[in-house]
């Protein structure tokens, strides 16, 4: 018997596969062909001067914070610092577009975003000083712990936003990741879950050109990282990550969209990591000075300063005032970080489980004996400096 002889065969006309239908129209999801910009374009005239001045002050403070934190590594006051110098527009915009009730999910390079949101810099830097993994209560500040395993915080942002939405709370989660992080499986899974659940999440990819030493061309063959959004059925936005006004506008729109219940957005901010990966890295092994110089001309502070001074919104006195304020912040940070953190070794056993297991009680006893031998009887509250 051939297929022609099957019942109904004569009447059947081939069609698309019966179960197939387009799930989503891809056209509105596609990113612009070029990164969205405001500064240096006609749109700049419409930008709110007050917002621009606020962004400027925050950028200058942010740059000074990065410089101070890097200096603290040289003085041995920080174990390591992954600088966001050059990326301040991304960090500041991410912090400023969120309401107090919203949540920020930073990676290890995003302490500046946490500080710009109002977190005490010392609390933000405990991870990198090495005295505490997380120096703040995440729920108090709505800032998730700084996340080191790449992209693994993204599904957390999705789950949190999903839970808030189920509860009927008006809460948006903004999660930060780098270009290298987009290659991780958790990036894929988080974006997929967010889109399926229409979770109120904004994914901000800071494409700073390098994953430590590996350039973007070795990371992806996609037209852009923003294009990846289309595969998940969410819009992708491509934006100039050094244009603070553009960053603020695009992230604000994505947050508003999430708040309206329209689901997640992937934002790719094209920027550049001006410093090495961390103070322990040597960037001269994988990139040339000329590349760095072309980005120096496109510096986020320079771009904004040109706009503000050109429009007469900022003069030399205004700039000095902003710099002086940033300098005071740096002085305060330096002073606070010059104090030795107070640590109690017995805390090692405090927060492994709600109640210590028998094993941990035995091990705590052992450590107590060792400490007593070292310092005299341990009073249970006593502490020691780390240096």
């Amino acid at each position: 018997m051939t297929v022609q002889e099957l019942p109904g065969a004569a009447a059947y006309r081939p069609t698309p596969p019966p179960a197939w239908k387009p799930l989503t129209d891809p056209a509105p999801l596609l990113p612009d062909p070029e990164p969205f910009r405001v500064l240096g374009t006609d749109a700049a005239a419409d930008a709110d001067p007050e917002l621009l001045l606020r962004l400027y002050a925050e950028l200058v403070r942010g740059r000074r914070y990065n410089a101070q934190a890097t200096a603290l590594t040289k003085q041995g006051r920080l174990a390591v610092y992954p600088s966001s110098t050059g990326q301040e527009a991304c960090e500041i915009a991410a912090a400023l577009v969120l309401e107090d009730r919203d949540w920020l999910f930073p990676s290890y390079r995003d302490t500046l975003a946490a500080v710009a949101r109002g977190l005490d810099p010392v609390e933000a830097l405990t991870l990198l000083r090495g005295d505490r993994h997380t120096g703040y209560d995440p729920r108090e500040h709505r800032i998730a712990p700084l996340c080191t395993p790449l992209a693994t915080q993204l599904p957390h942002a999705v789950g949190l936003a999903h839970a808030a939405r189920l509860k009927g709370d008006d809460v948006v989660a903004l999660a930060m990741v780098g270009d290298g992080g987009t290659s991780e499986g958790d990036f894929h899974e988080a974006l997929n879950f967010a889109a399926v659940w229409r979770a109120p999440v904004v994914f901000l990819v800071q494409n700073n050109g390098f994953a430590i030493s590996v350039p973007l061309a070795k990371q992806t063959a996609a037209p852009s990282l923003a294009h990846k959004a289309v595969g998940y059925g969410m819009p992708g936005r491509l934006v100039d990550g050094n244009d603070a006004a553009a960053m603020h506008q695009v992230l604000s729109e994505a947050v508003a969209r999430a708040r309206r219940g329209e689901g997640p957005t992937l934002v790719e901010a094209v920027t550049y990591r001006m410093d090495a990966h961390t103070n322990a890295d040597d960037a001269t092994r994988y990139r040339g000075d000329s590349e760095v110089e072309t980005w120096r001309a496109h510096d986020p502070i320079v771009l904004l300063e040109r706009e503000l001074t050109g429009r007469g919104l900022l003069d030399e006195d205004g700039m000095t005032a902003v710099r002086e304020e940033a300098e005071r912040m740096a002085e305060g940070l330096r002073e606070q970080m010059n104090a030795d953190p107070v640590l109690d070794p017995m805390d090692l056993f405090s927060h492994v489980y709600e109640e210590q297991t028998g094993q941990l009680r035995e091990q705590a006893d052992q450590l107590r004996v060792e400490l007593d031998a070292e310092h005299g009887p341990h009073d249970g509250h006593g502490a020691e400096g780390v240096r």
């Binding site: 997380t134 209560d137 712990p145 957390h156 789950g159 839970a163 927060h351 489980y353 297991t357």
Partner: protein
Amino acid sequence: MSTAAATAGERTGRVKPATMAQALGRALRDSMAEDPTVHVLGEDVGTLGGVFRVTDGLAKEFGDERCTDTPLAEAGILGAAVGMAMYGLRPVVEMQFDAFAYPAFEQLVSHVAKMRNRTGGAMPLPITVRVPYGGGIGGVEHHSDSSEAYYMATPGLHVVMPATVDDAYGLLRESIASDDPVVFLEPKRLYWSKADWSPDAPALVEPIGRAVVRRPGRSATLITYGPSLPVCLEAAEAATAEGWDLEVVDLRSLVPFDDETVAASVRRTGRAVVVHESSGFGGPGGEIAARVTERCFHHLEAPVLRVAGFDIPYPPPMQERHHLPGVDRVLDAVARLQWEAES
């Protein structure tokens, strides 16, 4: 005792045979009814009721938002559960099979296990990860792993394994109620084991972390858990013919580990064999043997022996009976406990 005992509902106390799968399902149901923050999520847990039907009826009773069919991505499921727990929910995650839980390993080790610690106690994660585990059901490749050694080696996790219908209910209720993350290992081949059980007045157990003597005896102690408990009880019965009166200890959890109950038993009997399905090398038995030896050395008449799965990748189902510790292998180990000194 605990919160679970207070669950309302008509308690008629009628007793009828129930399977472990049914008791687990009932535990989920009662937890969800009692606490609106309990959410179940996983692959096929909603409409289908789970591939082992443990979540059968939950989506119908509580809605898709409380019992959610997720995309097929274990790291995503557990990662999302972390975020849900951060926002105050109490997620219960189902991993479809032992070996399919591995994609979620990074979330489990780097976040679930550590979040309480890395936030100085500010943000514990009350997540229960249910994992159908172990062999003996004729499963093809990647469906029969005993993965408890990986989990017990990760500080911050509790590792709980029920072996009876009563414990399946009680331990799962306790695990969900715990503010610590729990890896809850469900022995697949006991899913259909039956016991008389009262679904309306389920027996509850003590807080997780307490082992129990399932069969008192004087000659030697069999230390076991999960799918190997029935094997050990059968071996103990068979051993009476040889004149051995074996005590059987069911650990019920590897973390916390109940040193007290185990050591007390071995001090009484003077001999011990650890029995589990997981591979012996680097497996739980090594840790248990060491702990017993450290605590009971002067009471021991013989070295602590281990009967475990071979140190091989889990074999094809037609060969699995040679791999799994059975009654004969347990009795053989008991025979090697240096009884010569007794005669």
